[in-house]
């Protein structure tokens, strides 16, 4: 029965590409990054912008997300998010 319902859903609604195909790297603060960023955009925005931003570059991006776009982040969280991005997606 469940299978039938799933089949019906699949055939009636247009299929959207699955954004979870691109997953952020494991690391401290990954869950925080997902929690604060994913409400507004898919994870692929981060690896797409890599690996050319240095720590200052990622700091500027996080600042923009908070100040211009209203991402809900405390200063302490911003520091952890920048650290995750610079470590995992920063310019080497």
């Amino acid at each position: 029965m469940t299978a039938l319902i799933v089949l019906a859903l699949l055939s009636s609604s247009p299929a959207y590409p699955d954004e979870n195909r691109v997953q952020l790297k494991e690391g401290p603060a990954r869950d925080l990054v997902l929690g604060r960023c994913a409400a507004c955009h898919s994870q692929d925005y981060i690896p797409m912008n890599s690996p050319f931003l240095d720590r200052k570059g990622w700091e500027a991006e996080v600042n923009k997300m908070v100040k211009a776009f209203g991402a809900p982040m405390e200063p302490e969280e911003m520091a952890r998010v920048v650290d995750y991005l610079a470590t995992n997606y920063g310019k080497k």
Partner: protein, 412 residues
């Protein structure tokens, strides 16, 4: 599904391989088909770009899923008009309602009109003269991913653009019914899309009143003879020929004619170019600052669609050079082609003129010479005498990249 995904992943790898200098032999390239982008894109972009289809679209190059940013593959530009299902998709904000044609309403108001009113689709189609023109819709950030050094943003390759026949009504005719006052300065557009958070600035843009009153600026409800696809702004979008796509508001629901400069993130901070670096023809004076100015009209540019990067030829074999050129609506005057890396240039033949805002096709042929690598270049010049750049004019947002098109082929 897994097999298809592996296949698509391999495509991304193929693009990266070209970048490392290991050119794929032509049969492999032919089998490979669509590449996810030039090898000069950031490595992380190539790794996370796949061919994927939004509902109603054919597979396009996915740059980001949400908001959706999907790019048109190179081979589509073999056609002078970009098919609707292959036309690129660009959004800033994730909430994108499907606006049914029957429910659509456009509010026309602002402090600089005498008679605000509301328009529906039957009235738009019945009460105003219907006009159609061909025009290039190009994202300001097209080719951002090719900036050197790289800059943050959606890392577009060459396909954040398209050419279509847009049918609709003149914006000036709609504004006339509202009775614009003489102090009218700008027209502010809002679309139905919005952010997930209240704190996110809604995507609203404005153009100067003189551009709004230009006879070529349209409210379009048809594209290439069909209703606009949802992802390209159904049921009605603004068409601002000659200007970058940031002003071509999709799912437009509001026009406000105002007497004071409109300020928001999207006008005052984003979409700005440094003053003095580019030949701005259409100055947007009410939005200029001491140091920068809104991006407005497109710079003259071209794209080679043939030959393809890495294509192989035998000595003496004819090489067909083809491509498209476009600009801000001045119109393309000449396209020159070089078959020797820029040492000598020949004038290409121009295809039919489909209007000054359209892509203009060009073609040329030469015989492959001795064995080795050959760089084929194309350089367009418009009727104002502006030509493409040989060196990138770097700017922080990666706009206006019109470096001459260059493709390297192999003879031997």
């Amino acid at each position: 599904m897994g097999t298809r995904r592996q296949f698509l992943k391999d495509l991304a790898g193929g693009a990266a391989l070209i970048g490392s200098g290991a050119l794929l032999p032509s049969p492999a390239r032919a089998a490979q088909g669509t590449s996810v982008g030039p090898a000069a894109l950031p490595a992380g972009t190539l790794e996370t770009s796949f061919l994927e289809a939004l509902p109603g679209k054919r597979p396009l190059i996915k740059r980001t899923y949400r908001p959706p940013n999907f790019e048109t593959p190179l081979e589509v530009f073999d056609q002078i008009f970009t098919p609707n299902d292959a036309f690129f998709v660009r959004y800033h904000l994730p909430r994108i309602p499907e606006v049914a044609a029957a429910d659509w309403k456009l509010e026309i108001g602002g402090d600089s009109v005498e008679k605000p009113f509301t328009l529906d689709l039957p009235s738009l189609q019945r009460d105003f003269e219907q006009v159609e023109l061909a025009a290039v819709c190009q994202c300001s950030g097209n080719r951002r991913g090719l900036s050197d050094p790289h800059v943050a943003g959606v890392e577009w390759g060459i396909g954040a653009m398209g050419n279509a026949r847009w049918k609709g009504v003149r914006l000036k005719d709609v504004l006339a019914r509202a009775g614009p006052k003489k102090e009218a300065l700008e027209v502010v557009f809002n679309g139905a899309d919005h952010g997930s958070l209240d704190a996110t600035p809604d995507f609203m843009k404005c153009i100067p009143i003189w551009k709004a009153l230009d006879e070529n600026t349209l409210l379009a409800w048809q594209m290439n003879g069909e209703p606009l696809p949802h992802w390209n702004g159904a049921p009605v979008r603004v068409v601002v020929p000659g200007w970058t796509a940031t002003y071509w508001m999709k799912h437009v629901v509001s026009l406000q004619v105002v007497s004071q400069p409109f300020k928001n993130f999207w006008m005052s901070t984003a979409y700005r170019i440094p003053k003095g670096k580019f030949p701005v023809v259409d100055r947007f004076l009410s939005q200029e600052t001491e140091v920068n100015t809104p991006i407005t009209d497109m710079v003259v540019n071209s794209l080679l669609t043939s030959p393809r990067e890495g294509q192989r030829f035998r000595p003496g074999q004819p090489v067909e050079v083809k491509g498209i050129a476009w600009d801000n609506g001045s119109g393309i005057r000449t396209v020159e082609v070089s078959a020797d890396g820029g040492r000598s240039w020949q004038t290409a033949a121009l295809d039919q003129d489909l209007g000054r805002f359209s892509f203009r096709g060009f073609r040329h042929a030469f015989k492959a010479g001795a064995k080795g690598e050959v760089a084929v270049l194309a350089k367009a010049t418009n009727r104002m005498g502006a030509s493409q750049a040989f060196e990138l004019v770097f700017n922080p947002a990666g706009y206006h990249n019109n470096v001459v098109s260059r493709v390297t082929v192999r003879v031997g």
